[in-house]
């Protein structure tokens, strides 16, 4: 049980407080409910570029980082399909500095041309470093548009194309900010050795005066059921061929998510899992194999990835993977297997509470899903899933719909 208190300011800002007296640091986490799914198809990568701009100075504070460092703090941020997450840790005596900094950039940014110009270049270098100048770096740039034809998950957080980032203009930046960076579209969590009254006082003082935004209309196009098999083979100068398969699966808040997550655990969580034992250890046709779920707010993907070994062909790889998938559709998993994956879930939950920062992040995340209190129901939701549920869900996903398959063919390149 993770205890917390929650409040909402008059302007709509949700606040979650968790007390942990064991550390001299305080963690603050802010989620803005905006991600790459909120971008228009000709300006992809914008939510992430914007995350960079949030460090380029706000209306009263020319540099975000300097005063934070002066107060012994450290921060970072990330953007994904659904939301943008900012976090910091700071010695507890300087907690007001965190409120001051975060409220000012929620109030208004400085919108400096120089910052936009530089951050465009920085993000382009990030694009190259992580997606283009890396072996297998472009896999999701290829796979997502195969799996999604309607829904905005078809592009990656970094964007479809470098040119979208190059073209981002100041007017668009301002209007994006006005739409999404408002207290009623944000969740603030604080964890550490703090007093509730003090946190509420500080929140009222610094965030209270910020006006709410206009209601955001969210109408994401629904991705139709995939009934056709989609395949793509690309040739790349990499040492090893690889296969990537993606099926559609339920959204994060759906009960079906838990069933699907357990399927991926049975297949590939840990060295005793089915795919590790059968595909890596026994068949020796893979050097790596993994099955995982994306956990997006809208319908996400169940992904299987494998790197091929010992001359295994695409057909061999598919056959071995499909064999494991069919087994889970045809036969109930063992009682012990279900117990094992549930034990892992329970342990992981405890391990995820080892620092104030991860507690603050998790609380804000669950508040976004619906309510912070859901964090305490997670284990029970997994434990409710039966062996029959897993078999039914597997049949629904793997038998009633078709996957997208990307085959990454290794070709020799000259160094």
């Amino acid at each position: 049980m993770l205890p917390f208190e929650s409040f909402t300011l008059a302007n709509g800002l949700h606040i979650i407080i968790h007390k942990d007296k064991s550390t001299p640091m305080v963690a603050m986490n802010i989620i803005y409910k905006v991600g790459s799914r909120d971008e228009s198809p000709d300006r992809t990568g914008f939510a992430h570029l914007f995350e960079h701009l949030m460090f380029g100075g706000s209306v009263h504070i020319p540099k975000y980082d300097e005063p934070l460092q002066k107060a012994g703090g450290e921060n970072n941020a990330f953007t994904n399909n659904d939301y943008t997450n900012y976090y910091l840790t700071i010695p507890k005596n300087n907690i007001e500095t965190a409120f001051w900094l975060e409220s000012d950039r929620m109030l208004s940014l400085a919108f400096s041309e120089k910052s936009l110009d530089v951050q465009r270049q920085v993000v382009i270098e990030e694009f190259k470093q992580n997606y283009l100048n890396q072996p297998y770096g472009d896999v999701y740039l290829l796979l997502k548009p195969m799996a999604y034809q309607k829904h905005p998950y078809q592009w990656n957080t970094i964007g479809k194309d470098i040119s979208h980032i190059e073209k981002a203009g100041m007017q668009e930046v301002k209007s994006f900010y006005q739409t999404f960076y408002n207290p009623d579209n944000a969740i603030l969590s604080v964890a550490g050795d703090v007093e509730t009254e003090e946190i509420i006082r500080l929140a009222e003082k610094w965030f209270g005066p910020i006006p709410p935004g206009k209601t955001i209309e969210r109408n994401y196009p629904k991705e139709p059921l995939q009934t056709d098999l989609r395949e793509l083979t690309v040739e790349r100068k990499v040492p090893q061929s690889a296969i990537y398969m993606a099926w559609h699966m339920p959204e994060r808040a759906n009960r079906g998510f838990y069933k699907t997550d357990l399927i991926s655990d049975v297949l590939s969580n840990g060295n005793s899992s089915r795919m590790y034992q059968n595909l890596i250890k026994k068949s020796k046709m893979f050097s790596d194999i993994s099955a995982f779920v994306t956990g997006d707010l809208d319908s996400g993907l169940f992904i299987v990835t494998g790197k091929l070994l010992n001359g295994a062909s695409k057909e061999d790889a598919e056959k071995l993977i499909f064999h494991e998938i069919e087994k889970i559709c045809d036969q109930l998993i063992e009682e012990d297997e279900l117990k094992k994956v549930n034990n892992k879930i329970e342990a992981n939950l405890m391990f995820s509470r080892m620092s104030i920062l991860s507690k603050a992040m998790n609380l804000a995340y669950f508040e976004m899903l619906g309510s912070a209190s859901m964090i305490n129901d997670e284990v029970a939701k997994y434990q409710k899933v039966s062996r029959e549920d897993i078999m039914d869900k597997a049949n629904e996903i793997f038998m009633e719909t078709k996957p997208s398959i990307l085959y990454y063919q290794a070709v020799n390149g000259n160094e």
Partner: protein, 433 residues
């Protein structure tokens, strides 16, 4: 509006009373075989982390890949448990078992719920005493590692890391060993068995337990490790060969690279050197945090790179300093120039009061931050213990850092940043024609 006018948004709010680093040294117990166990009782969750640290890092191996292969194969078979039995046991109890091998040490780490210790500790005992290194498992492991190596070799960052290590410590030294493709064909089961027998001994190891400590723990450890893990043939700990710098400039062309990986640096001292704390501060100012001079210059001002950092890397008997970045290919030359410019600036201009106090405060925050939670405490303790120190080391180190003056920094930069001492490595595109 009126409410907004009452608060001053332009100035940083006043700081409260500083909090201090306070922690007790861990309790120490000694098992029947003389093995030291350090107990760090902290945290709110009923979990444990057990670290078994053995002086069996790669510097002690006679053939490359030996130490790492021994570490990874410990869980692939022992007398009494085969590979899949170990995996099933660990997974069934929701535990994590990891073996990490660095230059100096091999560490077996187990994360588990406290209530499961009695089910899991016997297998850990077996791994320490009765690993069998099955031929078949070794082959699977080597095949997978070879592929990982080949993939990593495509990354300029990885290539630069290996090459730089070779430049700093020189080829042929224990610390300068660098993996090559042919090494994967040379490693044999006998190498592993020999290394294991020689180095995996209680007199060459210690144990750290962190988390929710209860009365049962020491008894269980003693039963499954203390009473059974007996010393083998005695051997003397020898200080490994640190090597020396040969070449100072190296450019490795990768014609299709979109970015170049740059490393600039030099060998330095280990943590116990009197200049260590001053150098740590200097390094932070240069490239050790997000607001550093290198980050401000190369990223925030010029947009050459997604990130640039400088590091102080310490081993037990050696260390090096390095600046590390990947930059836009056509800005390689400019980036090299700007890095040298920042190194020079620290040797010629005193660091301003404002910047110095900001960096000191940042370091103070970092010290507090790295002690957050029981597992973090274990990490910090091991790092100190490997040099023969305890938690007190950090308190002393922080106090010294907070006292360093601009004059001392200038002097330290002068002693360690001179251009002729620097090693420069570029992997990628070099427009030096």
């Amino acid at each position: 509006m009126s409410k907004q006018l009452q608060i001053n948004r332009s100035n940083i709010p006043p700081h409260g009373t500083p909090v201090h680093l306070v922690f007790e040294e861990p309790d120490k117990e000694i098992l029947d075989n003389g093995l030291e166990v350090f107990l760090i009782n902290a945290g709110t969750e009923n979990v444990l982390r057990i670290d078994i640290v053995i002086n069996a890092g790669s510097v002690f191996q006679e053939k490359k890949l030996t130490a790492a292969s021994v570490g990874k194969l410990l869980k692939e078979g022992t007398r009494g448990y085969d590979s899949s039995e170990i995996a099933t046991l660990i997974d069934y109890y929701g535990a994590y078992l990891d073996v990490s091998v660095t230059k100096d040490t091999s560490t077996i780490t187990l994360y588990l719920l406290s209530k499961h210790l009695k089910y899991l500790i016997p297998v850990i005992g077996h791994m320490l005493m009765e690993a069998t290194f099955p031929e078949e498992e070794l082959r699977i492991h080597v095949d997978r590692q070879r592929q990982e190596y080949l993939i990593n070799s495509e990354k300029v960052r990885y290539k630069a890391m290996l090459e730089f290590n070779k430049l700093v410590f020189g080829e042929g030294s224990a610390y300068g060993q660098v993996l090559e493709l042919a090494d994967f064909d040379m490693i044999e089961r006998n190498d592993l068995a020999h290394f294991y027998k020689r180095h995996y001994q209680p007199s060459n190891a210690y144990l750290v337990v962190s988390g929710n400590i209860n009365d049962e723990i020491v008894g269980l450890l003693n039963q499954h490790i203390g009473k059974t893990w007996q010393p083998g043939n005695s051997f003397e700990y020898q200080v490994p060969n640190k090597g020396m710098v040969g070449i100072r400039k190296k450019f490795i062309e990768k014609p299709d690279a979109m970015q170049s990986a740059i490393r600039i640096g030099r060998p330095i001292f280990s943590k116990k050197h009197p200049d260590y704390n001053k150098f740590l501060l200097l390094n932070t100012i240069l490239g050790g945090y997000f607001g550093s001079r290198l980050m401000s210059n190369l990223r925030e001002d010029k947009g050459f790179t997604y990130g640039v950092h400088s590091f102080v890397t310490n081993y037990k008997h050696a260390g090096f300093f390095s600046v590390s970045t990947e930059v836009k290919a056509d800005s390689t030359e400019m980036a090299l120039k700007e890095i040298m410019f920042e190194l020079n600036r620290l040797q010629t201009e005193k660091v301003g009061k404002d910047e110095l106090s900001r960096v000191k405060n940042y370091i103070y925050g970092t010290f507090l931050r790295t002690f957050d939670g029981p597992f973090a405490l274990a990490e910090r303790f091991k790092s100190a213990k490997n040099m023969g120190e305890g938690f007190l080391f950090y308190k002393k180190s922080l106090n010294e850092i907070l006292k360093v003056t601009p004059e001392e920094l200038l002097e330290t930069a002068g002693s360690y940043f001179s251009p002729e001492e620097m090693i420069t490595l570029v992997v990628g595109k070099v427009n030096n024609s």
